[in-house]
Protein backbone atom coordinates (compact mmCIF):
# COMPACT_ATOMS: atom_id res chain seq x y z
CA UNK A 1 0.00 0.00 0.00
CA UNK A 2 1.02 3.58 -0.56
CA UNK A 3 0.90 4.75 3.03
CA UNK A 4 3.98 4.34 5.11
CA UNK A 5 4.11 4.45 8.90
CA UNK A 6 4.79 8.02 9.97
CA UNK A 7 7.36 8.34 12.80
CA UNK A 8 5.80 9.02 16.21
CA UNK A 9 7.79 12.21 16.68
CA UNK A 10 6.12 13.76 13.61
CA UNK A 11 2.68 13.25 15.17
CA UNK A 12 3.82 14.45 18.59
CA UNK A 13 5.51 17.50 17.06
CA UNK A 14 2.36 18.40 15.11
CA UNK A 15 0.29 17.95 18.25
CA UNK A 16 2.57 20.21 20.33
CA UNK A 17 2.61 22.79 17.54
CA UNK A 18 -1.20 22.85 17.48
CA UNK A 19 -1.37 23.29 21.27
CA UNK A 20 1.26 26.06 21.10
CA UNK A 21 -0.65 27.99 18.42
CA UNK A 22 -3.91 27.59 20.36
CA UNK A 23 -2.27 29.17 23.42
CA UNK A 24 -0.66 31.86 21.25
CA UNK A 25 -3.88 32.89 19.51
CA UNK A 26 -5.73 33.04 22.85
CA UNK A 27 -2.94 35.15 24.38
CA UNK A 28 -2.76 37.56 21.43
CA UNK A 29 -6.53 38.20 21.65
CA UNK A 30 -5.92 39.96 24.98
CA UNK A 31 -3.50 42.45 23.38
CA UNK A 32 -4.89 45.44 21.48
CA UNK A 33 -3.50 45.29 17.94
CA UNK A 34 -6.35 47.21 16.36
CA UNK A 35 -7.50 45.62 13.09
CA UNK A 36 -4.53 43.27 13.18
CA UNK A 37 -6.13 41.16 15.91
CA UNK A 38 -8.37 39.67 13.22
CA UNK A 39 -5.48 39.21 10.80
CA UNK A 40 -3.31 37.47 13.39
CA UNK A 41 -6.17 35.22 14.61
CA UNK A 42 -6.97 34.06 11.06
CA UNK A 43 -3.29 33.65 10.15
CA UNK A 44 -2.71 31.41 13.17
CA UNK A 45 -5.86 29.43 12.38
CA UNK A 46 -4.57 28.91 8.82
CA UNK A 47 -1.21 27.66 10.09
CA UNK A 48 -3.00 25.23 12.43
CA UNK A 49 -5.17 24.04 9.54
CA UNK A 50 -2.09 23.41 7.39
CA UNK A 51 -0.46 21.42 10.21
CA UNK A 52 -3.55 19.20 10.48
CA UNK A 53 -3.95 18.76 6.71
CA UNK A 54 -0.30 18.06 5.95
CA UNK A 55 0.58 15.77 8.86
CA UNK A 56 -2.58 14.38 10.47
CA UNK A 57 -4.45 14.02 7.17
CA UNK A 58 -1.32 12.77 5.39
CA UNK A 59 -1.59 15.16 2.42
CA UNK A 60 2.17 15.59 2.62
CA UNK A 61 2.54 12.02 1.38
CA UNK A 62 -0.66 11.77 -0.68
CA UNK A 63 -1.06 11.45 -4.42
CA UNK A 64 -1.14 14.43 -6.77
CA UNK A 65 -4.78 13.72 -7.57
CA UNK A 66 -5.76 13.98 -3.90
CA UNK A 67 -3.86 17.25 -3.59
CA UNK A 68 -5.73 18.71 -6.57
CA UNK A 69 -9.05 17.82 -4.93
CA UNK A 70 -7.96 19.40 -1.64
CA UNK A 71 -6.83 22.56 -3.42
CA UNK A 72 -10.05 22.68 -5.47
CA UNK A 73 -12.16 22.61 -2.29
CA UNK A 74 -10.38 25.67 -0.93
CA UNK A 75 -10.34 27.40 -4.32
CA UNK A 76 -14.12 27.14 -4.51
CA UNK A 77 -14.40 28.41 -0.95
CA UNK A 78 -12.28 31.41 -1.96
CA UNK A 79 -14.58 32.04 -4.94
CA UNK A 80 -17.64 31.83 -2.69
CA UNK A 81 -16.30 34.38 -0.22
CA UNK A 82 -14.69 36.69 -2.79
CA UNK A 83 -17.77 37.03 -4.99
CA UNK A 84 -20.10 37.44 -2.01
CA UNK A 85 -17.94 40.21 -0.57
CA UNK A 86 -17.43 41.90 -3.93
CA UNK A 87 -21.20 42.31 -4.02
CA UNK A 88 -21.81 43.24 -0.39
CA UNK A 89 -18.93 45.66 0.05
CA UNK A 90 -19.57 47.65 -3.15
CA UNK A 91 -23.30 48.27 -2.75
CA UNK A 92 -22.71 51.73 -1.30
CA UNK A 93 -20.56 52.90 -4.18
CA UNK A 94 -23.37 54.34 -6.26
CA UNK A 95 -26.65 55.87 -5.05
CA UNK A 96 -30.02 54.37 -5.85
CA UNK A 97 -31.58 56.29 -8.78
CA UNK A 98 -34.19 58.74 -7.53
CA UNK A 99 -36.59 57.55 -10.23
CA UNK A 100 -36.91 54.27 -8.29
CA UNK A 101 -39.13 56.10 -5.83
CA UNK A 102 -38.75 57.57 -2.37
CA UNK A 103 -39.51 54.47 -0.34
CA UNK A 104 -36.36 52.58 -1.31
CA UNK A 105 -33.26 52.88 0.83
CA UNK A 106 -29.94 51.12 0.92
CA UNK A 107 -28.93 49.00 3.85
CA UNK A 108 -26.58 51.12 5.89
CA UNK A 109 -23.45 49.67 7.46
CA UNK A 110 -23.11 50.63 11.08
Amino acid sequence: MSSHVVPLKVYIGTFLGLLFFTALTTWVAFIDLGPFNTVVALAIATVKMLLVILFFMHVRSSSGLTRVVVAAGFFWLALLIAFTLSDELTRQWSPIPSSWGPGISQSEPQ
Partner: protein
Protein backbone atom coordinates in the same frame (compact mmCIF):
# COMPACT_ATOMS: atom_id res chain seq x y z
CA UNK B 1 2.86 -2.51 0.40
CA UNK B 2 3.09 -4.81 -2.55
CA UNK B 3 0.34 -7.17 -3.55
CA UNK B 4 0.48 -10.44 -1.78
CA UNK B 5 0.74 -12.18 -5.12
CA UNK B 6 1.32 -11.04 -8.67
CA UNK B 7 -1.47 -11.61 -11.14
CA UNK B 8 -0.74 -14.87 -12.82
CA UNK B 9 -3.15 -16.87 -14.93
CA UNK B 10 -6.14 -14.73 -14.09
CA UNK B 11 -8.29 -14.86 -11.04
CA UNK B 12 -7.90 -18.50 -10.20
CA UNK B 13 -5.20 -17.17 -7.94
CA UNK B 14 -7.59 -14.77 -6.25
CA UNK B 15 -7.62 -16.81 -3.07
CA UNK B 16 -4.02 -15.83 -2.44
CA UNK B 17 -4.80 -12.12 -2.62
CA UNK B 18 -5.42 -10.14 0.49
CA UNK B 19 -8.99 -11.11 1.47
CA UNK B 20 -9.77 -7.39 1.80
CA UNK B 21 -9.08 -6.65 -1.87
CA UNK B 22 -12.36 -6.00 -3.68
CA UNK B 23 -12.66 -7.60 -7.06
CA UNK B 24 -12.88 -4.36 -9.06
CA UNK B 25 -9.51 -3.05 -7.86
CA UNK B 26 -6.14 -4.11 -9.22
CA UNK B 27 -4.32 -4.00 -5.92
CA UNK B 28 -4.48 -2.71 -2.34
CA UNK B 29 -2.78 0.58 -3.21
CA UNK B 30 -5.35 1.42 -5.85
CA UNK B 31 -8.18 0.44 -3.53
CA UNK B 32 -6.82 2.61 -0.71
CA UNK B 33 -6.25 5.60 -3.00
CA UNK B 34 -9.77 5.36 -4.41
CA UNK B 35 -11.34 5.42 -0.94
CA UNK B 36 -9.04 8.25 0.13
CA UNK B 37 -9.91 10.32 -2.93
CA UNK B 38 -13.63 9.73 -2.44
CA UNK B 39 -13.42 10.98 1.14
CA UNK B 40 -11.57 14.11 0.05
CA UNK B 41 -14.24 14.83 -2.59
CA UNK B 42 -16.86 14.56 0.16
CA UNK B 43 -14.80 16.83 2.39
CA UNK B 44 -14.57 19.41 -0.43
CA UNK B 45 -18.39 19.54 -0.41
CA UNK B 46 -18.24 19.91 3.38
CA UNK B 47 -15.83 22.84 2.99
CA UNK B 48 -18.47 24.57 0.86
CA UNK B 49 -21.28 23.56 3.23
CA UNK B 50 -19.55 25.27 6.14
CA UNK B 51 -18.22 27.89 3.71
CA UNK B 52 -21.73 29.26 3.17
CA UNK B 53 -21.99 29.88 6.91
CA UNK B 54 -18.52 31.41 7.09
CA UNK B 55 -19.25 33.68 4.10
CA UNK B 56 -22.53 34.96 5.56
CA UNK B 57 -20.83 35.42 8.95
CA UNK B 58 -18.17 37.53 7.19
CA UNK B 59 -20.78 39.70 5.47
CA UNK B 60 -22.81 40.40 8.60
CA UNK B 61 -19.74 40.95 10.69
CA UNK B 62 -18.57 43.56 8.17
CA UNK B 63 -21.99 45.24 8.33
CA UNK B 64 -22.50 45.08 12.09
CA UNK B 65 -19.01 44.96 13.60
CA UNK B 66 -19.81 46.63 16.98
CA UNK B 67 -22.67 44.24 17.70
CA UNK B 68 -20.55 41.21 16.77
CA UNK B 69 -17.72 42.40 19.03
CA UNK B 70 -20.10 42.79 21.97
CA UNK B 71 -21.47 39.30 21.30
CA UNK B 72 -18.02 37.75 21.01
CA UNK B 73 -16.96 39.21 24.38
CA UNK B 74 -20.01 37.64 26.02
CA UNK B 75 -18.67 34.15 25.26
CA UNK B 76 -16.36 32.52 27.78
CA UNK B 77 -12.98 32.18 26.07
CA UNK B 78 -11.82 29.60 28.64
CA UNK B 79 -14.39 27.09 27.41
CA UNK B 80 -13.53 27.80 23.77
CA UNK B 81 -9.79 27.38 24.31
CA UNK B 82 -10.26 24.23 26.43
CA UNK B 83 -12.46 22.68 23.76
CA UNK B 84 -9.89 23.52 21.07
CA UNK B 85 -7.25 21.68 23.09
CA UNK B 86 -9.62 18.73 23.66
CA UNK B 87 -10.23 18.39 19.92
CA UNK B 88 -6.50 18.61 19.14
CA UNK B 89 -5.89 15.79 21.64
CA UNK B 90 -8.61 13.73 19.96
CA UNK B 91 -6.98 14.27 16.56
CA UNK B 92 -3.70 12.98 18.01
CA UNK B 93 -5.33 9.84 19.44
CA UNK B 94 -7.03 9.31 16.05
CA UNK B 95 -3.77 9.33 14.07
CA UNK B 96 -2.15 7.14 16.72
CA UNK B 97 -5.01 4.63 16.36
CA UNK B 98 -4.36 4.47 12.62
CA UNK B 99 -0.66 4.06 13.31
CA UNK B 100 -1.45 1.22 15.72
CA UNK B 101 -3.34 -0.50 12.90
CA UNK B 102 -0.38 0.00 10.55
CA UNK B 103 1.93 -1.61 13.11
CA UNK B 104 -0.55 -4.38 13.93
CA UNK B 105 -1.30 -3.50 17.55
CA UNK B 106 -4.91 -4.47 18.06
CA UNK B 107 -5.26 -3.54 21.73
CA UNK B 108 -3.68 -0.12 21.22
CA UNK B 109 -6.13 0.56 18.37
CA UNK B 110 -9.11 -0.13 20.59
CA UNK B 111 -7.76 1.94 23.49
CA UNK B 112 -6.88 4.89 21.26
CA UNK B 113 -10.24 4.81 19.46
CA UNK B 114 -12.04 4.74 22.81
CA UNK B 115 -9.92 7.70 23.95
CA UNK B 116 -10.85 9.59 20.77
CA UNK B 117 -14.54 8.96 21.47
CA UNK B 118 -14.17 10.05 25.11
CA UNK B 119 -12.42 13.28 24.06
CA UNK B 120 -15.14 13.94 21.46
CA UNK B 121 -17.79 13.37 24.12
CA UNK B 122 -15.87 15.68 26.49
CA UNK B 123 -16.00 18.42 23.86
CA UNK B 124 -19.77 18.02 23.55
CA UNK B 125 -20.16 17.85 27.32
CA UNK B 126 -18.30 21.14 27.82
CA UNK B 127 -20.29 22.76 25.02
CA UNK B 128 -23.75 21.61 26.07
CA UNK B 129 -23.62 21.47 29.84
CA UNK B 130 -21.40 24.49 30.52
CA UNK B 131 -21.43 26.89 27.59
CA UNK B 132 -24.96 26.57 26.25
CA UNK B 133 -26.35 26.29 29.78
CA UNK B 134 -24.60 29.54 30.77
CA UNK B 135 -25.83 31.24 27.60
CA UNK B 136 -29.35 30.15 28.45
CA UNK B 137 -29.09 31.40 32.02
CA UNK B 138 -27.77 34.74 30.73
CA UNK B 139 -30.73 35.04 28.31
CA UNK B 140 -28.54 34.88 25.22
CA UNK B 141 -30.41 32.22 23.21
CA UNK B 142 -32.22 33.86 20.26
CA UNK B 143 -35.73 32.58 19.75
CA UNK B 144 -35.78 31.00 23.20
CA UNK B 145 -35.09 33.62 25.84
CA UNK B 146 -32.96 36.38 24.32
CA UNK B 147 -33.26 39.66 26.24
CA UNK B 148 -31.64 42.89 25.02
CA UNK B 149 -29.44 44.71 27.50
CA UNK B 150 -29.64 48.50 27.87
CA UNK B 151 -25.86 48.98 27.45
CA UNK B 152 -26.02 47.55 23.91
CA UNK B 153 -28.19 50.43 22.69
CA UNK B 154 -28.83 50.34 18.96
CA UNK B 155 -26.48 47.36 18.57
CA UNK B 156 -28.89 44.99 20.34
CA UNK B 157 -30.38 43.42 17.16
CA UNK B 158 -26.85 42.80 15.88
CA UNK B 159 -25.74 41.17 19.12
CA UNK B 160 -28.71 38.86 18.71
CA UNK B 161 -27.64 38.15 15.13
CA UNK B 162 -24.16 37.22 16.37
CA UNK B 163 -25.72 34.69 18.72
CA UNK B 164 -27.83 33.26 15.91
CA UNK B 165 -24.59 32.61 14.00
CA UNK B 166 -22.96 31.27 17.15
CA UNK B 167 -25.71 28.75 17.84
CA UNK B 168 -26.19 27.61 14.25
CA UNK B 169 -22.47 27.20 13.57
CA UNK B 170 -21.68 25.44 16.85
CA UNK B 171 -24.72 23.17 16.63
CA UNK B 172 -23.94 22.09 13.06
CA UNK B 173 -20.36 21.48 14.17
CA UNK B 174 -21.66 19.51 17.18
CA UNK B 175 -23.85 17.44 14.84
CA UNK B 176 -20.71 16.53 12.86
CA UNK B 177 -19.02 15.53 16.12
CA UNK B 178 -21.96 13.28 17.03
CA UNK B 179 -21.79 11.62 13.60
CA UNK B 180 -18.02 11.23 14.08
CA UNK B 181 -18.50 9.54 17.46
CA UNK B 182 -20.99 7.20 15.79
CA UNK B 183 -18.41 6.30 13.14
CA UNK B 184 -15.79 5.78 15.85
CA UNK B 185 -18.00 3.38 17.78
CA UNK B 186 -18.33 1.20 14.66
CA UNK B 187 -14.56 1.41 14.08
CA UNK B 188 -13.86 0.44 17.69
CA UNK B 189 -16.05 -2.63 17.27
CA UNK B 190 -14.26 -3.55 14.02
CA UNK B 191 -10.84 -2.97 15.58
CA UNK B 192 -11.71 -5.13 18.59
CA UNK B 193 -12.59 -7.95 16.21
CA UNK B 194 -9.20 -7.60 14.54
CA UNK B 195 -10.71 -6.31 11.32
CA UNK B 196 -7.78 -3.96 10.62
CA UNK B 197 -4.34 -5.09 9.62
CA UNK B 198 -1.19 -3.38 8.32
CA UNK B 199 -2.53 -4.27 4.83
CA UNK B 200 -6.05 -3.00 5.35
CA UNK B 201 -7.09 -0.07 7.53
CA UNK B 202 -8.96 2.04 4.97
CA UNK B 203 -12.07 2.65 7.12
CA UNK B 204 -9.83 3.99 9.91
CA UNK B 205 -7.94 6.30 7.56
CA UNK B 206 -10.98 7.83 5.82
CA UNK B 207 -12.90 8.23 9.10
CA UNK B 208 -9.78 9.89 10.47
CA UNK B 209 -9.91 12.37 7.58
CA UNK B 210 -13.49 13.23 8.54
CA UNK B 211 -12.57 13.61 12.22
CA UNK B 212 -9.66 15.94 11.41
CA UNK B 213 -11.87 17.98 9.10
CA UNK B 214 -14.32 18.56 11.94
CA UNK B 215 -11.32 19.59 14.05
CA UNK B 216 -10.29 22.13 11.37
CA UNK B 217 -13.79 23.63 11.32
CA UNK B 218 -13.47 24.24 15.06
CA UNK B 219 -9.95 25.66 14.59
CA UNK B 220 -11.64 28.46 12.58
CA UNK B 221 -14.81 28.74 14.68
CA UNK B 222 -12.75 29.33 17.83
CA UNK B 223 -11.12 32.63 16.71
CA UNK B 224 -14.14 33.76 14.68
CA UNK B 225 -16.59 33.36 17.56
CA UNK B 226 -14.52 33.75 20.71
CA UNK B 227 -11.47 35.87 19.92
CA UNK B 228 -12.20 38.25 17.10
CA UNK B 229 -14.10 40.71 19.30
CA UNK B 230 -10.84 41.39 21.09
CA UNK B 231 -10.50 40.54 24.73
CA UNK B 232 -8.57 43.64 25.81
CA UNK B 233 -9.87 46.86 27.35
CA UNK B 234 -13.57 46.98 28.21
CA UNK B 235 -14.59 44.34 30.72
CA UNK B 236 -15.92 41.27 28.98
CA UNK B 237 -19.18 39.56 29.77
CA UNK B 238 -17.82 37.52 32.64
Amino acid sequence: MADLVAHGAGHDLAATHSPDLKHHFDNMTQQFDAANLGMWVFLATEVLFFGGLFASYTVYRALYLPGFEIGSRLLDVRFGATNTAVLICSSLTMVLAIRAAQTGQRKAQVVLLLLTMILGAAFLGIKFTFEWRNDYLEHLVPGVNFIDRPEWGANAPHVQMFFIFYFIMTSIHALHMIIGIGLLSVLTWMAARGRFTPDYFTPLEVSGLYWHFVDIVWIFLFPLLYLIGGRYGVGGGH
